[in-house]
Symmetry: C3
Subunit: 413 residues, 3 copies
């Protein structure tokens, strides 16, 4: 346990510590990198919670926040109980991982001659847990206010424990998608469009919030645009840890350079998405700003680069993110026309830009083929829509999907 | 001073840099780890401030925030002037450290052959400073609104400079408690229950806020549940840095695995505490939610695991945290029955779960005995209650403890 | 791309990874340090945005936040397109860098025998990009509400791409100031007073917000003191990453000790600034607090230490920061007397303390001379005032500087 520092005692003990050698240095570097990436990525959890809190009426805030934080905790628990191994310990070329509990290695089993991996398994679980909580947070925002908290909690647990890990195991766990040429570095398809499809099927079952589309003629004031902006910034910063960390190694100069380039590309894609959305509003909509839509241009840029943040040049990353900003604006208009109620704008940013980013991989990755990207994207779409529809319907018939009256929620706070 | 980077000049200089060897690599790893842990743990300062800001009326906010940030700054200063050495440079088996100013080593005294420690002393001070500021922030939230800012500031300075370092020196500074079998890895007793006892003695002297217990029949709306939820999340994330960092070393693969397992256990304990508190409310209280109480289940889980975050299996950590969630709910009810006014719910979470976590150590640590844990916990309780009562009474007779009228505070903002 | 972790496959591959050696270890340490510093420093972007959001009327929030986040994104883009090389690739002893696009090195060009630098160039760009975005954020807060968003955006792009990099190239890029004895470690002059001068020239052209100085007899309630306090804390934490990171190396024990001492000094200077400002208010102004002014004492302390955060003893850092707190209070009074409208208090904190901190360098750095500090400070002042006046006037005549009516802004949100 090393004890706490005591100035007097230490120098005498120093010579007994053996010098670190190659593999152990790699182990510490990688572990430190996983932990740093996980800490930074956790800011996304705060950010998504703020984004949703900013988009709902203040009297619904208590219920909304309880659902979000409770869902985050529940997702972590199921990801520990079975989600992690549903993602990783599958058979080669298979369709799902195995159903067993995750276990860390004991530190005592690690000796300078014997490493189970070149990183502490706890640090890997920690980082993967943050990623596994993202789909539920994205779904949460899109369905905010009208979904029953218990229905959401049930679905979110299934999402983090089964739906997401199964899809992710197809590629990242060595499953069937990894035997095709499909490429999705940090989850534009496996995390973001997956979450978007799950939420889209629910929005159609749920319908819109009361009065949502009657009031559209006059500009609807945002509930708390401060929360939305701070949340966007925290998601943005957190994303840099999430996409950088997705390289899953930082024990060589080449890895360190790759991680740095990923972070630069991810940041520039966000900048491109936001500036493009802002410019469109300045030029096209002029005074009739939809601040939250413009801000979600940044999220759109981040999603767009997530399928391939490493190989593009910074200019290409900027371009990919900028087109993401256009996708966000266009799909936001389309949803409004179709009267699909998406409270936080998650469908344009995560689903729309998840598709765009996945299809854009061949622009910078010479080994990726458009047809493989389409196959991967469509497979996940088909899987996510069908399984989520079935589950939402089961939940709907057993627990009920939609709160009867929005005033119900007020009593929660 | 190394200068700023210039692309042209560097390559030529590279060969002159000597290769890093064993001890120096350890030094850099440990220092980087202390700094990372300290940065992450600082989010707890933001979190506790948000938690308190969310629990008070908005017109009191200016005075409350000024007191919190000013207190944080003042605590850091006294921890520099004498607190650090009150904690660490004591005599073996003694009762307190020594009264002297902290000094960093000069970088020039460090050579590849000569290290005073295996970490930069400044990075250790930085991390310890964050921990030393926690008790005052916990006390602040519990006593919010009715305590005179100047009385709080005076007490907080004594807490960070003398009360906490003295108790901590008993165990972490090599004092008398370290010669017993008492075990408290990250301060469930030495930080959290200590702060709880100090605040409890003050609540009894202060009494409740005006009208606090008259209005209890109808559900009292939270002042700003958004701040409470965001604050809880930031405390949670920060805690992972604080408990991981408490291993105080990351210069070997075994340390890296230990740190990772601590972070996983700490996270799962928080999840357990929150989910349990949420389930109790869903099943027992049904619609009559007390959102802030449920959210403080997460804090309860975090405190519960702080006495021993390393040795439990993840399942055991989840269980220990879950029981922490039950402790929070039960003690919140008890305080209400006893009409003890605890603005942020700090007494159930920090005092109640601090005791629970300390007593739970033998569940996973075979070397710890329940009787030793009881002795340690009771000693700190007796010490904290008696010294804080004396100090609060002295402060009360000299400066006054309670503001005359809550409206006083409004003029501050 | 290393692929994602698979428990089964890894151990077999371990022996093929070569042990890390000297220069590669330095490369990873420095890159990890740049990335950590950049992540932490990004909290300043959130902090400055919160600070400004807290100081304006809530109905202006949408427009203000859009301008801030959009400006941050635009600044990053121009810093990529030409700002970075305007800063660094200048001629020796010259007046500006060169106008070309930044390019990261490809990871494939890095071999254990061949390093272009001892850090990934992407990680350096990432850290420098955060610094380059600070002047615009400081200017934004000072001019909030009355500046036209498009005018601000135009100026901010010129500031991050040309004005700041040119001034910084004089010292950090090896330009003419670096041949004098001028010393400015982390930008008290090159970032903070530069931004202050640019904003001061605009405040004079813009005039005050409507009704700003009529209403001064009664205490003006802060718009959202919560945002201001949380923002101040995030700026504070972020600053520790920014000033520590400014050493630009952490690949030796001496560097690690230096970085730690910088962080300790920076933190204590903030504490000194805040406590001093608080004490002045307690003793002089008594009940008539200006909470935001007291809180900006912390920012003042942080700016004051930024010219030389490494060499002072912690006590000296505390003193330098404390005098910064006095400077903030006095200049806030002066601005009020002169009816200069500074919405977030940026001129006292960044300009006033930037000058004070620059002049204070000789107190701890025996090699620095007061006359050199004055020359450097005056040169940047003359440059910043003249170029910003010219640019603001050009922008004013083409786009217009001031919004016609504050109600205009409401339609943006």
């Amino acid at each position: 346990l090393a004890g706490f520092s005591q100035e007097a005692g230490l120098p005498a003990e120093l010579p007994t510590t053996p010098d670190l050698k190659g593999h152990e240095i790699s182990f510490v570097f990688n572990t430190l990198f996983f932990l740093l990436s996980g800490f930074v990525a956790l800011l996304m959890v705060v950010g998504f919670t703020m984004l949703e809190a900013g988009a709902v009426k203040q009297e619904h805030l208590g219920a909304v926040l309880l659902k979000n934080l409770g869902g985050f905790a529940a997702c972590s628990i199921v990801f520990y109980l079975f989600g992690y191994h549903m993602l990783y310990s599958g058979t080669e070329g298979g369709w799902h991982g195995s159903f067993k509990m995750w276990q860390p290695e004991a530190a005592s089993t690690i000796t300078p001659e014997n490493f189970p991996n070149l990183f502490a398994s706890g640090s890997d679980w920690f980082f993967q847990m943050v990623l596994a909580s993202l789909p539920a947070l994205i779904v949460s925002g899109i369905l905010a206010v009208r979904i029953k908290p218990l229905a959401y909690l049930t679905f979110s647990v299934l999402l983090a424990g089964l739906i997401y890990p199964t899809a992710a195991s197809w590629l990242w766990g060595g499953g069937w998608l990894s035997t095709t040429g499909f490429s999705d570095f940090a989850g534009a398809t496996l995390i973001h469009s997956l979450a978007g499809w799950c939420a889209l099927s629910a929005t159609i079952l749920l319908g819109a919030r009361k009065g949502r589309f009657e009031a559209m003629k006059k500009v609807r004031p945002h509930r708390n645009i401060g929360y939305i902006a701070f949340g966007t910034l925290l998601i943005w910063i957190g994303w840099l840890g999430y996409s950088g960390g997705s390289l899953l190694a930082m024990d060589s100069a080449a890895d360190a350079a790759d991680v740095s380039n990923i972070i630069v590309n991810t940041h520039l894609a966000a900048c491109g998405g936001l500036v493009t959305a802002y410019l469109i509003h300045l030029l096209v909509y002029r005074k009739h700003y939809h601040t939250a839509v413009v801000l979600s241009g940044a999220i759109g840029g981040l999603v767009s680069i997530s399928a391939e943040p490493l190989l593009p040049s910074p200019s290409m990353a900027l371009l990919i993110g900028s087109i993401g900003g256009v996708v966000v604006i266009m799909l936001s208009e389309l949803l409004r026309t179709l009267k699909i109620d998406d409270v936080t704008g998650g469908i344009p940013a995560h689903l729309g830009c998840g598709i765009w980013g996945t299809l854009a991989v061949p622009l910078s990755n010479g080994d990726a083929k458009l047809i493989d990207q389409v196959i991967g994207m469509m497979s996940v779409a088909g899987y996510a829509i069908s399984i989520s529809l079935v589950l939402w319907l089961i939940i709907g018939f057993s627990l009920g999907l939609r709160i009867k009256n929005e005033h119900e929620l007020i009593f929660y706070s």
